[in-house]
């Protein structure tokens, strides 16, 4: 009986397994294979060498990697600080209002990211909504607020807020009220309760939210292109350029592999730490 159950389980998992293998694993293997080809070839029928990785290491691409990781880290940290009180409210205080908030945040996902970012471009650019009105009222204009690193980080925060907010709210919902009250009763200050009880007990949510935000932001490209202009070049943009304008697939593939390795390593480490079973309420 139990053996048949297990067979059935494998059978049920088969369609999804095939889909993941074709749609997820195969492209990555393809990219991995291309990254070992000599420069500027368009077929896998060549002798592998690792010249593309050599180029990645020697041509200063590490700067783009650092920009991507640095801005992703900054966005994750900022989002954590912004979302904590909001998620706390959603999980413990707002009651029915948190549903309104959820719908509001989810609705923004219905509109394409690029269109929403263009909205910000129109708002922030020289002659746009803000600068235009300021000039109209005061007579003195300024350069517009676009094309710098802080505005890119702002864009990342704006786009990836839901990915931090919801896991965080889930994590905070897991903190039992009585544990907090008991700590308070035993003499803990508000700050000590946060540090000793709430942060550790909400840690699975914090890790999942931070990972999602960080991974997505590290691979982001639209924010840098639309809001950042030429201020910095991120790794995702380098990958795009290598594949398209540069016509150097092996180089693009090698850059992608570097990004996948870094982000994947961080993600696997983080998921290892987070207790997803507890998060989903199965334990």
């Amino acid at each position: 009986m139990q053996r048949r159950d297990r067979q059935l389980g494998a059978l049920y998992a088969l369609p999804l397994g095939v889909f993941l293998a074709l749609a997820f694993l195969a492209p990555i293997l393809l990219v991995a294979a291309f990254s070992t080809m000599p420069a500027k070839v368009f077929s896998l029928a060549n002798l592998p060498d690792f010249s593309a990785y050599y180029t990645v290491l020697t041509q200063g691409y590490w700067k783009s990697v650092m920009w991507s990781l640095g801005m992703a880290l900054a966005a994750t940290a900022i989002l954590f600080v912004i979302c904590w009180p909001l998620a706390y409210g959603m999980a413990k205080v707002f009651g029915r209002f948190s549903l309104v908030l959820t719908i509001g945040v989810v609705m923004t996902l219905f509109v394409s990211e690029n269109i929403r970012l263009f909205g910000w471009v129109l708002t922030l650019m020289k002659g746009g909504l803000i600068e235009g009105y300021v000039r109209h009222w005061t007579g003195a204009g300024f350069d517009g607020l676009l094309y710098n690193v802080p505005i890119i980080v702002f864009g990342l925060c704006y786009v990836y807020l839901p990915f931090m907010l919801f896991p965080l709210a889930q994590g905070i919902a897991m903190v039992p009220d009585d544990a907090r009250q008991a700590a308070y009763d035993l003499g803990a200050t508000r700050w000590q309760i946060l540090r000793e009880i709430e942060l550790p007990l909400a840690m699975p949510g914090i890790l999942v939210g931070s990972l999602l935000t960080f991974v997505l932001a590290a691979g982001a490209i639209a924010e840098t292109k639309l809001l950042g202009g030429q201020a910095v070049i991120v790794i995702a943009e380098e990958v795009e350029t290598a594949f398209t304008y540069g016509q150097n697939w092996p180089l693009g593939a090698a850059l992608a592999m570097v990004l996948i390795a870094i982000v994947g390593g961080i993600a696997i480490w983080g998921i290892g730490k987070a207790d997803l079973d507890r998060m989903m309420g199965r334990r």
Partner: protein, 356 residues
């Protein structure tokens, strides 16, 4: 023991929007006392304990810890603490870390904290290696002891309990009740214990305060509450009881001897007789108070047998006798029941409750 009560509650009132949970109650608790506050759900005992530990603020009245007014002091600044109904142990901390928590908050050095935690483990009869155990590896009874140890590590002036035993099975509860009483004697601390189980209160406490609809109905030692309840509510709350309506010293169907007549002559109220005070009279045997009936039902309670005895035109009576005194015949057998006058207690005509 000093004369000043360790805790003084003065005209304490708590109103929620359209509901008054506590009606200006008063209470003095002696230093080192084990006081149980007992009441059915909705009687206001949870509201009261929340005010006492500082998780809520009273609408009116005051709470004094010795000579210091504490009702506006937040919970984390009060020298009291509570063992929660759920125990509220910290699942992400080991047994040792749980116990040390209040000491860590006070920045006690790690070595000293550990020494104290081990001391408390020993006091609670838990082996020292439990120090490193995870909370989810402990059984229900062990968690109970860890929660107690954590509260004792805080070294409170008063230790409150919010029905911490109610989730446990019967046998474990019985064991822990005795341990708790023993712990109270060994530590000499003041314990205030909230429960809806009178049995629990009677086993452990020095005094019992019975709560009903936001006020105290009676505050007295267990024996007194059991033997001389001030109201029908208390009498009925304290277990199974027979109450006969008495008017002008007479109860229809009951025959009074001279002693009983002298005791109750001309009085009115409810005459209380506990089921175990009644006995089945042999033919020709007399008693100060006696009446006739027919056995309606029989229940075995282990060492005792309980009967429901029907009477003409009156509510049935419950009798409990030892097994060896069981009536042969079972349901349908006519019996004469009796008890001495001293086994009864007259609850004087109740003044209608102001709140009701």
């Amino acid at each position: 023991m000093s004369d000043m009560p360790i805790l003084r509650i003065n005209a304490l009132t708590k109103r929620f929007d359209d509901f008054t949970a506590l009606h200006g109650i008063n209470l003095n608790v002696r230093d080192g006392e084990f006081l149980a506050i007992v009441g059915p759900s909705g009687s206001g005992k949870t509201t009261l304990i929340r005010l006492l530990v500082g998780m809520d603020e009273p609408t009116d009245g005051s709470i004094w810890l010795r000579d210091r007014r504490i009702d506006e002091v937040p919970a984390n600044k009060r020298p009291t603490c509570m063992v929660f109904q759920s125990l509220a142990l910290f699942p992400h901390r080991s047994v040792g870390q749980n116990i040390e928590f209040p000491l860590k908050l006070r920045k006690v050095p790690a070595a000293k904290r550990k020494a104290r935690a081990l001391e408390l483990l020993e006091l609670l009869r838990l082996p020292a290696h439990y120090y490193d155990k995870r909370i989810d590896e402990c059984s229900g009874g062990e968690r109970q002891r860890v929660a107690l140890a954590r509260a004792l590590a805080f070294d409170p002036e008063i230790l409150f309990f919010d029905e911490p035993l109610s989730a446990l099975d019967y046998r474990l509860r019985k064991t822990l009740e005795k341990e708790l009483k023993d712990l109270h004697q060994r530590t000499g601390k003041t314990f205030i214990y909230i429960t809806h189980s009178l049995e629990e209160a009677m086993v452990m406490s020095d005094r019992i305060a019975i709560m009903k609809a936001g006020h105290f109905e009676q505050i007295a030692p267990a024996e007194e509450i059991y033997a001389r309840p001030v109201s029908r509510f208390v009498a009925e709350f304290m277990g199974e009881v027979n109450l006969f309506d008495m008017t002008g010293g007479a109860v229809p169907g009951l025959r009074f001897g001279p002693e009983a007549t002298a005791l109750y002559g001309g009085q009115s109220g409810a005459l209380m007789v506990r089921p175990e005070s009644l006995s089945v009279l042999a033919p020709g045997q007399g008693a100060e108070i006696a009446f006739d009936g027919v056995i309606e039902a029989e229940y075995l309670l282990g060492s005792r047998v309980q009967y429901t005895v029907a009477r003409d035109g009156a509510a049935p009576v419950i009798v409990e006798v030892l097994r060896e005194n069981a009536v042969s015949g079972g349901p349908g057998t006519p019996v004469t029941l009796g008890c001495p006058a001293s086994a009864c207690h007259l609850i004087a005509q109740e003044v209608q409750d102001a709140a009701a």
